[in-house]
Amino acid sequence: ANPQGPSNNSSLVMSLQFHLGKVSFISCPKLLGHVAETVKRLHVPPKRCYGFILEFQGDIFMYYGLQNFYQNHRRYVISRSDAQLLGRNVNRSYCTPFTTYRNGTPMAPCGAIANSMFNDTIDLFYNLNSSAIQVPVLKTGNSWWTDKNVKFRNPESYNLSSAFAGTARPPYWHKPVYLLDEEDERNNGYVNEDLIIWMRVSAFATFRNLYRRVKRIRQFADGLPAGNYTFRISYNFPVTKFKGRKHVILSTVVWSGGSNPFLGIAYVVSGTAATLTGFVITAIHLKLRKKKTYFQK
C-alpha cells in the first residue's frame, strides 16, 4: 500500500503533543513519563524529551502533524514554481515575495511553500538494558513515484552544488537545498523526499505528513517490540507564532486506510438509515395498496 495514503484503522495511534515553548532540544536526560493525550502548555526547561511505553506490530510509519497551519490558503498554494522544481530556469513565477534577495540572488526553491518547510528532526530511540538504540528508519520511498521522478528534478550539472550555483537558500532554511541529505545523493536537492512531501500541500489546517518509516531489521523486524521509547526532537519549526501545534504520530497501516473511523462509521450510519428508510417506505406502500384496493371495491 502506498505509504502516503492509508493510515491506521485498527491499532493504536499514539500521538504526542509537544509543549510549545521556546526551547530547542538537542539531547536530554532520560525521563519516563505518562503518555498524555492533551498536554497543557508548560514552560519547560531546556533539554528535555519524552519517553513512553509502546508496542507496535507490522509496518510502522512515523508522521509529523501540524495544527492550525493553513497550507490551503490561496496565496500560499500558488506561491511555488513547478518549473523551477523541474530544474529549469525561471524568470517569472508566483513566488513573490520569496523569489530573490535584495542583492539579486534567486532563491532555490522559491516560494512560500518551500520556505516554510518543516525542519524538525525526530529520532526514535529504543531503551534496552540501559542503552538507547536508535530505531532504524527509511528516509526514502515515502513519496509518490511520479513526484520523485517526474515532477521534481534537479538541474543538470556535474555535481549538485554547482547545479545550484548562483542561488541561495530560502530565508527560513538552515541549509541550502543541495545539502538537504548529504548521505544519499538521490535524495538531495529538489528530489529530497521531505521537500517533496511538504510541497504537496494539504487541504486542511490540521494535517500530517509522512516523515519516516521504520526499517524492519534486527530487533525491529516485526515492528516495535514492547519497551520504553524516547523521542529526541530538534525543535526548529516554530508553531507558537501562529498558535499552532505539532505532533508526532506513529501508526500502522491497513488496506482501507483511514486512521479515523469516519468512513466506517459513515457507512454503518448510512446503511442503517437506508435500511430503515426501505422498511418505512415498504410499510407505507403496502398500507396504501390495501387502502387503494379497499376503495376500488
Binding site: F207, S256, F262, A266
Partner: protein, 538 residues
C-alpha cells in the same frame, strides 16, 4: 317576367378535417378559443356550429351588433346580467348590486353556471375596444365559453389579441392562414401559420407553421407540453448542479481562511459546465418524455401543469437549491471526514462527477440511446481528461499549469477514494429516490397515473387514428334575403354598391341540414329564402 331556372352553382370551401375534434380537445385542455374572422356573421356562426364551438346545448348565444357605443354597452350589460341571473338562480348566494366594480365583476363572472357564447360584429367591436369599455368587453367575453368575432379587420384582430394579453395573465396563440391574419399572428405570444391555398404570408410571419389545423393539437398537447417539461427539468438541473458545485467552495472557505482557494483545479472548473455535465443535461432537455405521445394526446388534462406554472416556480426553485446545498454538504464533508487527518487526496472532482451523473440518471424519465451515450460518455470523458491532465506529458510542457501530475494515478489507486465516492453518491441519491417513491405513492400526479396505466387502451385509440372519417363538410348557408330581388330589379347593373350584411337576421342553424330560420326585417314585402352560395372556410 318568366324566368327559366337554368341551374345552380355553388362554391364549396370545406372546413379542414379534424377541426371540431381539435377544438373539443383543446377546450378540454383548458384553452379558451376565440374566432376572429373577416366573414359575415352568418358564416361565422355557421362555422361555429360546424366546428362545435357553439352547440345547441348552450344556454344562450349573445349577439352584439350595436352601431353606437351606447348600444354596444347596453348589449354587453344585458349579456352580463343574464349570465349572472342564471348563476344566481342556481344558488350562488350573494347579493347582487346594480353597480358592480370591475374586480368584483371578475369574481362574479367566474362563477357563472351554464355555457354562453358571444358573437360580436366588427363595427360593434370597434366600439367595444375603446379604452373605457375594453375591460368590460373582455370580462364579458371571458365569461363565455366561446367568442366569435365576425367582420373583423386585420387591425382589430391584433387589437383583440393585444387586449387579452394586456389584462389577462394568459399566454395567447393566434393561428391563421391568410395575409389578413398576419398582424394577429405577430401580436400574439405564439403565432401559428397554416400553409395552404391562401399563400404563405401567414407562414412567413409565424413562429410555427403547418398545413392543417388539426396539427395544432399535437403542437400544443404533445410538443408544447414536452417542451415545458423539458425546460423545467433542465433548469432545475442546471441550478442544482451549479449550486452543488459552488457551495462546496463556500464550505471550503471556512477551512482555508476564506482565501478563495478552490477545491478543484482550474481546468476542472472550466470544463465542468462545458464538458462534464453539459451533455447529459442537454440530452435530457431535448429528449425527455414523461408520457408517451399517444397518451399525451388522449389526456388533455395533462396540459394543466404548464398553464398553472406548476413545474418550475418559486417553490420548485427552492427545492432545487436545497437539493444542491444538501449535495454540496455531503460532497464536501464526507471527504473531509475521511481525509481530515490531512493525508493527501484530491478526490472531490471525481466525486462531483459521479454524483451529478447519478442524479441525472435518476431524473431522466425516458432513456434513449443518446441519453445513455451522453451520460456514460461524460463520465468516461471526465476520467479521460483527468488522466490526460495529470499525465506526465502535459506536465513537462506546462509545469506551472498542470501541477497535478500523478494525482489521478495515485489517488485513484486507493480504495478509500472509491469507497468515499460510492458512499457519497449513495447518500446523495437515496433521499431523492425515497422522496420520489413516496410522492408517487401518496400524491401521484396525472402524468404518473397515465404512465402507469395499462397498455390495453392502446388498441382502442389505434382504431380511431386510422380512419379519416367520412365527415360531412360544413356548409354554411346565408339566410338573408340574398340578391334575388336585386337581380330581378335590374339595379345591379348600376354602379350603386350592393347592400352589405343586413342586421336583424337571426338564424339558428343546426349542422346536419335541419335548419330553422326566422327572418325578421323591417321593410319587407316578401320573404324570400334563398340559399346563396356562401363561402365557408377559415
Amino acid at each position: 317576367l318568366r324566368l327559366l331556372l337554368l341551374g345552380a352553382t355553388a362554391i364549396e370551401d370545406k372546413l379542414q378535417q379534424g377541426v371540431p375534434e381539435t377544438i373539443a380537445i383543446l377546450t378540454l385542455a383548458n384553452i379558451k378559443i376565440w374566432v376572429l374572422t373577416g366573414d359575415k356573421q352568418e358564416t361565422a356562426v355557421n362555422i361555429g356550429y360546424s366546428c362545435k364551438m357553439l352547440t345547441d346545448d348552450m344556454t344562450e348565444v349573445f349577439v352584439v351588433t350595436g352601431h353606437t357605443v351606447l348600444e354596444v354597452r347596453e348589449e354587453l350589460r344585458k349579456a352580463r346580467e343574464k349570465m349572472m341571473d342564471a348563476s344566481r338562480s342556481v344558488g350562488n348566494g350573494f347579493s347582487y348590486q346594480e353597480k358592480v366594480s370591475s374586480s368584483k365583476l371578475t369574481s362574479v363572472l367566474e362563477a357563472i353556471a351554464g355555457e354562453y357564447a358571444l358573437v360580436i360584429n366588427g363595427h360593434s367591436l370597434a366600439h367595444a375596444l375603446e379604452a373605457d369599455m375594453e375591460v368590460e368587453f373582455l370580462e364579458t367575453a371571458c365569461a363565455c365559453k366561446a367568442v366569435i368575432c365576425c367582420r373583423v379587420t386585420p387591425l382589430q384582430k391584433a387589437q383583440v389579441v393585444e387586449l387579452v394579453k394586456k389584462y389577462k395573465k394568459a399566454v395567447t396563440l393566434a393561428i391563421g392562414d391568410g395575409a389578413n391574419d398576419v398582424s394577429m399572428i405577430k401580436t400574439a405570444h405564439i403565432g401559428v401559420g397554416i400553409s395552404g391555398q391562401e399563400g404563405i404570408q401567414a407562414v412567413l410571419a409565424s413562429d410555427y407553421s403547418f398545413s392543417q389545423f388539426k396539427f395544432l393539437q399535437r403542437l400544443l398537447l404533445v410538443h408544447g407540453r414536452w417542451s415545458y417539461l423539458r425546460m423545467c427539468k433542465f433548469l432545475c438541473y442546471f441550478f442544482y448542479k451549479n449550486f452543488a458545485f459552488t457551495m462546496v467552495h463556500f464550505w471550503f472557505g471556512f477551512f482555508c481562511g476564506f482565501s478563495a482557494q478552490t477545491v478543484y483545479d482550474q481546468y476542472f472548473i472550466t470544463l465542468y459546465n462545458i464538458v462534464y455535465t453539459s451533455l447529459p443535461v442537454l440530452a435530457m432537455g431535448v429528449f425527455d418524455q414523461d408520457v408517451p405521445e399517444q397518451r399525451s394526446m388522449e389526456y388533455p388534462k395533462l396540459y394543466e401543469p404548464g398553464q398553472l406554472n406548476l413545474l418550475f416556480n418559486k417553490r420548485e426553485f427552492f427545492i432545487c437549491i436545497a437539493q444542491g446545498i444538501y449535495t454540496s454538504v455531503l460532497m464536501f464533508f464526507i471527504p473531509y471526514g475521511v481525509f481530515a487527518d490531512g493525508l493527501k487526496s484530491r478526490v472531490e472532482p471525481a466525486l462531483r462527477d459521479v454524483v451529478e451523473l447519478g442524479t441525472i440518471g435518476l431524473d431522466t424519465g425516458f432513456w434513449t440511446a443518446i441519453n445513455h451515450f451522453f451520460i456514460w460518455g461524460s463520465l468516461a470523458a471526465y476520467f479521460a481528461i483527468l488522466f490526460t491532465m495529470h499525465s506526465d506529458g502535459l506536465f513537462q510542457m506546462f509545469p506551472n499549469q498542470f501541477r497535478f501530475v500523478g494525482n489521478a494515478q495515485n489517488t485513484l489507486a486507493q480504495p478509500t477514494v472509491w469507497l468515499t465516492i460510492a458512499l457519497t453518491t449513495v447518500v446523495c441519491i437515496v433521499p431523492v429516490v425515497a422522496f420520489r417513491f413516496l410522492k408517487l405513492d401518496l400524491k401521484p400526479e396525472l402524468s404518473d397515473t397515465v404512465r402507469a396505466r395499462k397498455q390495453k387502451t392502446q388498441h382502442r385509440c389505434m382504431r380511431r387514428v386510422g380512419r379519416a372519417g367520412s365527415r360531412r363538410s360544413g356548409y354554411a348557408f346565408s339566410h338573408q334575403e340574398g340578391f334575388g330581388e336585386l337581380i330581378m330589379s335590374g339595379k345591379n347593373m348600376r354602379l350603386s354598391s350592393l347592400a352589405g350584411p343586413v342586421g336583424g337576421a337571426e338564424c339558428g342553424l343546426r349542422f346536419g341540414g335541419v335548419w330553422t330560420c326566422s327572418v325578421t326585417k323591417k321593410t319587407k314585402k316578401k320573404k324570400i329564402l334563398f340559399p346563396v352560395p356562401g363561402v365557408v372556410g377559415r
